[in-house]
Symmetry: C2
DNA sequence: GCGCGTCTGGTCCCCGGGTCCTAGGCCCAC
DNA sequence: GTGGGCCTAGGACCCGGGGACCAGACGCGC
């Protein structure tokens, strides 16, 4: 095929590389152009082969996936990187995406879905699987009693948003044209309503619940 | 086609609905089964037609997209919702995804990419466009000097991770089996190294940079 | 050996954060 | 009119957070 999507496989297990290769060989618009067994040689092969898409494991001996992603970014390599991981390691999702990953898929993905993912990524999308997106957004989720954001008044939400930007009471007072004492009152009420101990917990609560604007 | 993907369009501008419809009519595996002009009637039509995928605008008069998403979730409607937005409104991304959106695409997407997005979403993926994913991750990004997380020592990262969980110095001391004073020293060093004013800012910095575990 | 960085801890001190109590003005619902 | 929220704000009070300064123990590299 003339304009097949050129794919590079980077994974430390050749079993996995072989599996991916056989998955993709039946797709007539996807061509596996190379393989690498660790991050560093993955970067080298990417520079050499200039693939459209790189399928890469996160956990690899030596230079790992995130490190390789950063290198590719520094080199200006235009390849789109799709992270293929053995299980949902939520700790690694954010760093990987931040380092420039174009997507994150689970290793037990079925062949057609994987092909679809490669096409999506090649088309310029960023792609996550549900569990991964869930992990990214849930973080800790609501510990028990669910979101009581509704119980906050408008003014309290304003104050909370500023707390979530790291502002002090004095700064909040200036920003909202209030006395510092009034801000303290609002903060106290927020902490009471949300059952939190201090402004740091309030700030974290806010970012998790999207009050941070 | 026997198992075409059944799509419902929800947007307050019929021009947009018409555009999407013509985009999708040339795809032989996608069938537009209905339209709605606002969130509430979108939910009603979704219940009635049971589409596989719903293309929905976020900003609509009356019941908006996020509200509609929530309703669908409550009703247990299995439709996958792809948010189609006129521009990258980063404020709305997180709430929409949290409310159960399966994806977020830009209105100037080209027909084939839109079809691809629908197929991805229908296949169970969560899909974002680059700018959207960028907005989600960047948030405020590094104000200037880039991530100096590397300058933190291992111990400092441990302490920072606990700060990012809303723990007090005393709790951190107990958790790490240290004196409260030592924790304070670490906190001071963290604030100095990252050029932050207090633990609240440190907690926010940590979650943005993935130190929060 | 010596220097350097890290981890540990101490003392002194100040201030910002947070609580408790109180209270006036405002608007809305009954 | 009366009660009940919300926003505003004051005073008194306590304490945890953070800075300044100092220092010993340990490990690593020159």
């Amino acid at each position: 095929m003339a304009d097949a999507i050129r794919v590079l496989l980077v994974d430390d297990h050749q079993v996995v590389r072989r599996g991916l290769r056989t998955f993709l060989e039946v797709q007539d618009d996807i061509e596996v152009v190379g393989e690498a067994g660790d991050g560093a040689s993955g970067v080298a092969r990417a520079e050499e082969l200039r693939p459209d898409v790189i399928l890469m494991d996160v956990k690899m001996p030596g230079s790992d996936g995130v490190e390789a992603l950063r290198r590719l970014g520094e080199l200006g390599n235009p390849a789109r990187v799709l992270i293929v991981t053995s299980f949902t390691e939520q700790r690694t999702v954010v760093p990987a995406l931040r380092a420039g990953a174009a997507g994150y898929v689970h290793k037990d993905i079925d062949p057609d879905a994987l092909a679809g993912a490669i096409r999506s990524v090649h088309a310029g999308h960023v792609l996550l699987q549900p569990e991964v997106a869930g992990a990214l957004l849930a973080q800790e989720a609501a510990p028990a009693q669910g979101s009581r954001a509704g119980s906050l008044t408008e003014r309290e939400r304003e104050v909370l948003a500023l707390i979530a930007r790291g502002r002090s009471n004095r700064e909040i007072a200036r920003a909202l044209v209030l006395s510092e004492k009034t801000v303290k009152t609002h903060v106290s009420n927020i902490l009471m309503k949300l059952d939190l101990a201090d402004r740091t917990q309030a700030a974290l609560w806010a970012v998790r619940h999207g009050i941070s604007d």
